[in-house]
């Protein structure tokens, strides 16, 4: 177990990074610690525990903005938002259970890893809701970027750069996010018994309709059977799901329209609020693969490519998969073996216009293979230069994403 610093103030955080820089001591950044098993494993000498930077600093519902310490538990934020009928519209995922930890996700953590749930296709990703931050860079400098308002083009958009940088550029300690009104009503239209290819056509057609679908997923029968939602697990067949949210009369009208649109595939079903919430939480958190130990990939492709990607992979590997983001996000599990099928999967991801990230695998596999899709040489070089511009001594989560980054 590495030793740990827990700075209680920004000055102490700066001092901790100064110490690391002076002695070239790599630091592992943690907030809640729920994502330690994600990414490439690191040989950090010291853990930089940011948990003291917690608590909501400013929440003005009418400004649709919230500012909080980066290590504020997501659960705390969601509870406060719920009281005012608001939400983080990107539906932040919590992979704690998937990765076998009880540690809870933090706001800074989901932003730093840009982890978004099913509503990503309508509302955007975590990065789209990230308005501003304060952080300490690997140069041991306290700096800020962005602001607290949505419309802001003052200077480079470093929020985007920090979102998805996995703590390799700076230690976030305060973040501002956009929040949105929560929908008054949620329903999910279910279509039963489709194979992958036909299901993805349905998802695409639904997204191309004017019915403002806020989530679109497909679960094959074996994975549907693992759901905790009785309608899903007892259906005994594949489930294609379309979520509709908004004000009551609108939700009802759109559900009716969608069911009519896909009437040729059978009568269908509807999930109401509570079951809808449970079902989409399962899709969001990868729960269909929660109970097993297989290697798990998250593959991002153009939505119409999802089923084709899986069909081509099935020719070479024994895999199980489900689709979110209207087919644009494929969750794919297979026996970990020696290398989690990295070569075949990442090659196929690129061939289908996307990229694959290894979400879960034993440490030795994550240490040996490219957890993140390897980049084109020019992009990799630019990535390394950017890392150097924030963290020239490579003390912040070094090697978490790529060798040296």
């Amino acid at each position: 177990m590495a030793q740990s610093f827990t700075p209680g103030s920004v000055d102490e955080l700066v001092q901790a990074v100064e110490w690391a820089v002076a002695g070239s001591h790599p630091l592992e950044l943690i907030g809640g610690g729920s994502k330690r098993a994600l990414g490439r494993p690191m040989q950090a000498e010291m853990t930089l525990d940011l948990s003291a930077f917690s608590g909501i600093k400013e929440y003005q519902p009418e400004e649709l903005q919230l500012t909080a310490g980066a290590a504020t538990p997501l659960a705390e934020i969601e509870a406060v938002l719920e009281e005012k009928d608001q939400m983080l519209a990107f539906e932040p995922a919590d992979y704690g259970a998937l990765l076998g930890t009880r540690a809870g996700a933090t706001l800074g953590g989901v932003l730093a890893c840009n982890l978004s749930g099913p509503r990503r296709i309508k509302a955007g990703a975590a990065r789209d809701h990230f308005l501003g931050f304060h952080a300490v860079s690997g140069r041991a400098e306290d700096f800020k970027a962005g602001g607290k308002v949505v419309k802001n083009v003052t200077g480079y958009d470093l929020c985007k750069l920090l979102a998805g940088s996995w703590g390799t550029l700076a230690a976030l300690y305060e973040v501002s996010v956009k929040v949105l009104p929560a929908p008054e009503r949620i329903r999910t239209v279910l279509i039963m018994g489709l194979d992958d290819a036909r299901a993805l056509t349905v998802l695409g057609d639904a997204m191309a309709s004017a019915h403002d679908v806020s989530a679109a997923a497909h679960l094959p029968a074996a994975l549907a059977a693992r759901s905790a939602v009785p309608y899903i697990s007892e259906a005994g067949t594949a489930i294609t799901a379309l979520r509709v949210e908004g004000i009551g009369p609108s939700v009802e009208a759109r559900c009716t329209a969608l069911r009519a649109m896909f009437a040729m595939h059978g009568e269908g079903e509807e999930l109401h609020s509570m079951y809808s919430r449970s079902f989409w939480r399962e899709i969001r958190d990868g729960s269909p693969f929660g109970g097993d130990a297989r290697a798990l990939w998250r593959v991002s492709v153009p939505p119409a490519e999802g089923a084709r990607l899986i069909a081509s992979l099935r020719e070479q590997l024994v895999i199980e998969a489900y689709y979110d983001w209207a087919g644009g996000l494929v969750w794919l599990a297979l026996a970990a073996g020696e290398d989690a099928g990295v070569e075949v999967i990442q090659t196929a991801a690129v061939a289908h216009g996307g990229h694959a990230t290894l979400l879960r695998a034993p440490t030795q596999i994550r240490a040996a293979i490219s957890v993140f899709q390897p980049q084109a040489p020019a992009v990799a070089a630019l990535t390394a230069r950017l890392k150097g511009s924030f963290d020239p001594s490579a003390v912040l989560n070094p090697g978490r994403m790529y060798p040296g980054v």
């Binding site: 030793q3 610093f5 820089v21 400004e63 400098e141 419309k151 003052t154 470093l158 009208a253």
Partner: protein, 493 residues
């Protein structure tokens, strides 16, 4: 601006000849009559003749031109349609202005993946028109959408009246192809939702042409809403209009657009285009609602109730598409209308927290009196983006300077109430020297290091955004004071 490099200027003829060899004689502009067309962008108060203009037609040519300029240490200023309002495309006396106007094709519309691949010189509105019959559109709609190019939109992260619900350019982009200053061609993103690695696509969006030259853009496209209606509401005070905005948001309604105009703006546009705005009102709000018919109908009712409870003095709901267009006509003609009532006008672009609206408008009227310059306010009220138009006469000695000073005061006010210097127009040269109002030297240096990672010699659009130029080598140095074990008095292990 960085001091012009006299050696470069002395070799102008040779550089022109070399560029002609790369992209063709006809596409290198060197005569001063033709160069004049490029001397400013939409911020015409700033003018500078470029040394040369190059108009490449494909990515390979852009790459060759940039590689050549990098080798010769020649500065480059990228330019889209030249409609920008912050001087982002202001030329340099020793620089090549790189025009992307010949990149004017829509390459692919991929309905199955709800995306379109377009060249950067395509006008924003052209994208939506190309897919209109199929029932799709590209959401960001800056006021200049007839003319502004999508490449320029990426460079500036342009917004528009519908960004409240549908986001800015950055929220509607999937990928780009771009050329770095050394000529290297890179692709970021694609048609998938999330890019891998660092979000370089997000970083270059809004980077004002300083990190690379965009040569291809993939945008997300959306199905058109089934119904669109607008409400036109009059209020007896800015305060009441501001309360109505807060009330709508507090009720959990995110309209497609929510625009406010104050009395001077109302009168200016009414005279210009007879949109039918209530002349007795101190402020009007235009609230646009879109979606399924039943939803729009319900929300029209809810917004009308909120308006009434805030003391609206008039309220009309569009009953036809023609009427909706008429409501918007005044708002969309606001800049032209300002041009009619004053010899010159200066558009500001700050963002403030919505709740500070009436306070900021009141302070702007005070400033208006102090400086003796009339102001008309147009406001993307839904997302707090304020566009005061300062009316002036550039022929009156000192008036432009007074206008700029007053504009600076307004932007400082925006920052002081918790807002920002620019919501959608960019920093450019215009707001460059105000950056210190929002950012510390440390903040700005970190941004400049990002610039260095893309362009280590700072040849691409230098002199914009940052008030002080630093050499990359200087920025790269580390100054770490201590290396002592931190806070030893605290338990930590």
């Amino acid at each position: 601006m960085p001091p012009p490099n006299q050696t470069t200027i002395d070799h102008r003829a040779e550089i022109a000849a070399d560029l002609s060899a790369l992209i063709g004689d006809a596409y290198v502009i060197a005569d001063s009559a033709s160069l004049k067309a490029f001397e400013s962008d939409g911020l015409s108060a700033y003018r500078q003749m470029p040394m040369l203009v190059a108009l490449p037609s494909n990515t390979a040519e852009v790459s060759q031109v940039l590689a050549y300029c990098a080798k010769r240490d020649v500065k480059v200023v990228p330019r889209g349609a030249g409609t920008g309002l912050s001087g982002g495309a202001l030329p340099l006396a020793d620089g090549v202005t790189l025009g992307l106007g010949r990149f004017n094709k829509i390459l692919e519309i991929d309905y199955a993946n709800r995306s379109a691949v377009v060249q950067p010189g395509v006008a924003n509105l052209t994208i939506s028109q190309a897919m209109d019959s199929a029932g799709f559109y590209y959401a960001p709609d800056p006021s200049s959408q007839i003319a502004c190019s999508i490449g320029g939109n990426v460079a500036e992260n342009s917004g528009g009246v519908h960004s409240l619900k549908y986001g800015l350019t950055t929220n509607n982009l999937l990928g780009v192809e771009m050329v770095l200053m050394d000529g290297e061609i890179i692709r970021l993103g694609g048609k998938q939702f999330d890019a891998d690695g660092y979000d370089l696509l997000g970083l270059i969006t809004g980077s004002e042409g300083m990190l690379g030259v965009i040569t291809e853009v993939t945008v997300r496209i959306l199905p058109k809403p089934l119904t669109v209606r607008a409400l036109l509401m009059g209020f007896a005070s800015n305060d009441a209009a501001g309360q109505c905005v807060a009330g709508i948001i507090a009720a959990g309604i995110i309209p497609a657009g929510l625009e406010l105009m104050d009395k001077p703006a109302i009168h200016a546009v009414e005279e210009f285009c007879h949109a039918g705005y209530p002349l007795e009102a101190e402020a009007i709000l235009i609230c646009e609602l879109d979606g399924p018919e039943v939803e729009v109908e319900e929300l029209v009712g809810r917004v009308s109730e909120i308006a009434a409870s805030c003391g609206a003095t008039s309220a009309r709901t569009s009953e036809s598409e023609a009427e909706r267009q008429r409501f918007w006509l005044g708002r969309k003609s606001a800049f032209s209308a300002a041009g009619r009532i004053a010899p010159d006008y200066y558009v500001m672009d700050g963002t403030i927290p919505r709740g500070r609206l009436s306070e900021v408008l009141n302070r702007i009227s005070e400033l208006s009196e102090e400086y003796g310059l009339a102001v008309a306010n147009i406001f993307h009220a839904g997302d707090g983006n304020l566009h005061p138009l300062i009316l002036f006469d550039a022929n009156v000695p000192g008036e432009l300077e007074r206008t700029e000073e007053m504009g600076g005061e307004i932007l400082k006010l925006c920052v002081a109430v918790g807002g920002v210097l620019t919501g959608e127009h960019g920093v450019g040269v215009e707001k460059r020297d105000l950056m210190g109002e929002m950012f510390s030297e440390t903040d700005l240096k970190q941004q400049q290091r990002v610039k260095c990672a893309f362009d280590s010699e700072q040849l691409l659009n230098p002199g914009k955004v940052f008030p002080t130029l630093h050499r990359c080598a200087e920025l790269g140095r580390m100054h770490v004071h201590s290396g002592e074990m931190p806070f030893p008095d605290l338990p930590r292990f």
